[in-house]
Subunit: 144 residues, 2 copies
DNA sequence: TTGCGTGCAAAGGTTTTGCATGGCA
DNA sequence: TGCCATGCAAAACCTTTGCACGCAA
């Protein structure tokens, strides 16, 4: 589509933000995390600027925006060629809040199974598995 | 399981809220919509109360909580299954909103795999697969 | 110089929390 | 009567918008 609007100017802030997201690989960040990352450095960036840059980058497809199921805040992540988060699952620990990226062949079969048997095309970007992670499992007594 | 915490008291508000959600069948509502629905009736309910009831109902698995695509506000939907929803997965169609209960042995293996390989105990009550259902799949053109 | 980029501050919206009161058992 | 439930108000958040100033081209 024609929506492309290359930035007119190159700015220090724009580069800092993009570089940071790139450096995270397939990890994702929130606006707040980005702001805090630069907070006391000489690369400090205002949060309004972060929002505006992320919006543009997402519109251009350079990064991806999505809402985790808990819906508290939006997450952004760099779209690095072929391998990104749309190809693996996310496990969210309900106890400690950790978000785990699960890259695994078996999990990949899930998508095929759902499509083949249930005719359901899963959106891995939106889907989050809730549960209890390794660290928190021992802490929880036998439960049920 | 010990997690059940039946309401101690039956209140008019609690019943109004649940009845309303039930009456919507598979439709979903936001907190604001619920508050407004009762607003000028004699069943008026405070929004704080709505939030608190929905939270409890979702924890018990009576209703389910979703985040819309835009992530602006949460949606809630009645879970009409008589079967134990804690023992199968749920597929939520992002296009038509349908909620599909997937009872399937293969899917059951997912829980075991996650626990065995990733040491992650999944909570099926909270976990929802987002994607596109059978009916809506053809409607989506090749997309990209 | 031009006009986009920046960032402070304030607005707008959703959800949570504090606290005094009301109502169910 | 003992508590939990309720709901107003305020706080806590996340995100957007207005506006004046700064900076890249």
């Amino acid at each position: 589509m024609a929506g492309k609007r290359p930035e007119k100017y190159h700015t220090r802030q724009g580069r800092s933000i993009l570089d940071y997201i790139k450096s995270l690989g397939s990890g994702h960040v929130t606006v707040t995390q980005i702001v805090r990352h630069f907070e006391d450095t000489e690369e400090a960036v205002g949060q309004t600027t972060v929002y505006r840059h992320l919006e543009k980058l997402a519109a251009k497809g350079v990064i991806r925006k999505y809402i985790l199921h808990d819906g508290k805040s939006a997450c952004y992540q760099y779209v690095s060629g072929e391998k990104h988060c749309s190809e693996h699952f996310h496990l969210k620990c309900e106890t400690c809040g950790a978000l785990i990226h699960a890259d695994c062949d078996f999990l990949d079969e899930i998508a095929q199974h759902l499509l083949g048997k249930h005719h359901f095309q899963i959106n891995m970007l939106k889907t989050v598995f809730y549960g209890t992670c390794k660290k928190c499992l021992p802490a929880r007594d036998g439960s049920r």
